[in-house]
Amino acid sequence: MQVFNTYFKILKKRLVAILIYASIFLFLTIAMTENQNVNNKKFETQKVNIMVINENGKDALMDGFMKYMGSYVNFVEPKEGEEARKDMLFYGKVQYILTIPSKFSNEFLNHGTVQLTKQTVPNSTQAMSVDNAINNYFNMGKVYLKNVKNINVEQLNSYIAENFKKQTSVQLDVKVQDDVAYNNEFNEFYFNVLAYIMIAAFITSVSMIMFSFNGIDIRRRHTAAPLTSRKMNIFLLLANLVFVLAYIIMFIVVGFMLNKCRMINLSTLFMWLNALVFGLTALSISYLVGITVENRKTIGALSTAISLSFAFLSGIFVPQQYLGAAVLRVASFLPSYWYVKANRTLVYITSLQNKELAEVFGYMGIQLGFAAAIICIALVISKRKRQQAF
């Protein structure tokens, strides 16, 4: 029992670091999911943010044009100064800056060839979608101007507005209910980031404790103590498991509270299980680090290095679908890759009959395999160290 108590006594000293990681995690989750809304089952046009600099001034043609564009874009208040506008474009606050040159309306109505100018991220889909809308409007206007004699701007506007009422009907084929989809996707994001935090926090805490227990002087004293080595290891293991379990359960509860559409379904339950499985893997990594390092300060460095590289490579910070094939191949040698993959698959699990469930068990099995392999390495090292102690 002394071992068990000592474990938590040392853990208490690392509490600040653990709390810092926990708060980073919560901050990240809240910041990233705040703007997520439950999707509607209806079709919605995805509007592009656009800034219009109108040097032409307001007139009837512009009114009609802006009204038409309103169904495809969000207008952003124009900013003074070229730098401020360029900044907005760089940081994606607007995707399109449209400049309407002076006398544009005049030229257009008199069949001139004047063009609007745009600043965009070249070749982007957003720019393409706005280009499309602009060209549609003016091409249509041109057809009317050319073929209807003596048409005035008001008539032109009313024709186009009337045509615009004819909308294509869209059928949105939804498989999963909206709140279920939200719940599952929130869980996916939350538990993926949790993997990063688990590795970082476990290495800073568990490794540090293991390091303390494995110091050469402490080990020598232990050997002389009446407590058998077996008993000590069992207590250490028990303490580790209690800590990891408490940590994960705490974050499962927090995650459940933060989820706007919280629900306990099959997908949620399996993600919890997956988190527990990964917790064991992270624990084994921390254990290995703890008994191999020779310097307290190395642990801090390793905690940052391992957690960040795992997070970036296995799709925790950037979804796996955006990672290159080569990166994914390398990442498949990391347990976190399989953890993230399992979570992705779990988003779509609705019943026990889903054949993807077998895949998920496979991914969990691979994680446990990693854990077992790491523990074996750790045991070998630990044994060699024991022999060195005398």
């Binding site: 910041a31 079709f43 995805q46 495809y72 360029k86 474009l89 760089f90 940081y91 994606g92 063009q115 609007l116 100018t117 745009k118 600043q119 991220v121 070249p122 070749n123 982007s124 889909t125 957003q126 393409m128 979608s129 280009d131 499309n132 809308a133 602009i134 060209n135 549609n136 003016f138 091409n139 249509m140 041109k142 057809v143 009317y144 073929n147 009337e162 045509n163 615009f164 004819k166 294509t168 009907s169 869209v170 059928q171 949105l172 084929d173 939804v174 498989k175 310097n295 300060k297 460095a301 290095a305 997070a311 970036f312 490579l313 910070f317 950037v318 955006y322 990672l323 290159g324 990166v327």
Partner: protein, 375 residues
């Protein structure tokens, strides 16, 4: 003098921990950024939208022709797979296409989720139908229009927008790399702190020993600072070379200015560390924590974790943007890449210069003429 400098340099290079944080950690992070973002650079680029088209048995199918032939920037807009409805459904379900269209006269669009490509698809179909309506409207008021070439007019698609003069591509992902390089520059603060601790008799045993040695303290301090500056410059050069040659980050065209702002950033970092070392009368750990928070936090506010933050801070709290040395360095790099003029660069460099001088003077005042009768 030179011996002192070399000795200190050796000493610095034997400190494995600070070598890791200064040399290895930024390179590790840059590598992570590189691998993680490798495909994201192109994710916004338009690619041909894959769709399926279900014909309703009409002989001549205009819509299909228009869909197949539609081009944008010399690229096909749609990759059309003509098939029956059950196959189209399956394709959509498996994610092989983004939408399918049924019918020619009164087309209906079937999609699985809302998105930009779906919006483009819908707006295209809308304009197709609206054009048909327009033709009907025109014929009503001008029955001769067909003869006058109405059909041709309606098929003709002119471009009404042109790209303004093309500068550098807006790429918010670059913010990560600039902030990382800037962070590494200001990270010199930890080296500055070390130097102060090593020279001050009340902070370390070595400082006490140095105080009774015959060498002039300021001279030694300058030697040590110079050694720290050299060692730190090594880390910046290494990171820059790695970013520029290995992972090919675009830094714009003026590398001389870029190097200058890095030097200035490193000096600012040393001065910051010195000031905290001298003026914060707390344990070494507390000083280290303060610097870590200042430098890491500075990195965070300059967009090292989330690029948006840099913009938000500059918008909402401009003062914070101008007193954060990491942001000043990162912003100078950004302006070198993105702007045609150097105004913003000069402003950033000027403010950073002032901060460096102020902090430098502050640490000098703290260090000079400290004597202890007994310690």
């Amino acid at each position: 003098m030179i011996q002192l400098y070399i000795a200190r340099l050796k000493c610095l290079f034997r400190n494995k921990e600070s070598l890791f944080w200064c040399y290895m950690f930024p390179i590790l992070l840059a590598t992570c950024f590189f691998f993680a973002f490798n495909n994201l650079w192109k994710v916004e680029d338009f690619t041909t939208i894959k769709i399926a088209y279900v014909n309703e048995g009409t002989q001549e199918d205009k819509l299909n022709q228009i869909l197949t032939s539609q081009k944008m920037n010399n690229m096909n807009m749609f990759d059309v797979n003509q098939c029956d409805i059950s196959k189209a459904k399956k394709l959509l379900e498996d994610g092989n296409i983004e939408a399918y269209v049924v019918g020619s006269e009164d087309p209906v669009l079937y999609i699985k989720e809302n998105g930009l490509n779906q919006t483009i698809m819908k707006s295209f179909l809308d304009s197709y139908r609206q054009r048909a309506d327009a033709i009907a409207d025109i014929i009503k008021v001008n029955p001769n229009a067909i003869k006058e070439g109405l059909m041709n007019d309606s098929m003709q698609q002119n471009e009404f927008v042109k790209e303004a003069s093309q500068g550098k591509k807006p790429q918010s992902l670059l913010t990560y790399f600039y902030a990382l390089l800037a962070f590494t520059c200001i990270y010199a603060a930890n080296w500055g702190l070390d130097e102060v601790i090593n020279i001050q008799a009340n902070l370390s045993n070595r400082g006490a020993r140095v105080s009774v040695s015959p060498i002039n303290k300021m001279k030694l301090f300058l030697c040590n600072l110079l050694a720290a500056f050299t060692a730190h410059l090594g880390s910046i050069s290494l990171l820059f070379a790695y970013m520029y040659f290995a992972i090919k980050v675009d830094f714009g065209n003026n590398l001389l200015y870029l190097f200058m702002i890095c030097l200035l950033g490193s000096l600012a970092g040393l001065a910051l560390g010195g000031t905290v070392g001298v003026w914060v009368k707390k344990k070494v750990e507390v000083k280290e924590a303060i610097l870590t928070i200042a430098v890491m936090g500075g990195g965070f506010l300059s967009g090292m974790m989330v690029p948006d933050i840099k913009y938000t801070i500059a918008e909402k709290f401009p003062l914070l943007a101008y007193i954060n040395p990491v942001n000043l360095v990162a912003d100078a790099m950004y302006s070198l890449y993105y702007y045609d003029t150097y105004d913003r660069f000069y402003l950033d460099a000027f403010v950073l210069g002032i901060i460096t001088v102020v902090l430098g003077v502050a640490s000098y005042i703290g260090i000079r003429r400290k004597n202890y009768a007994s310690i």
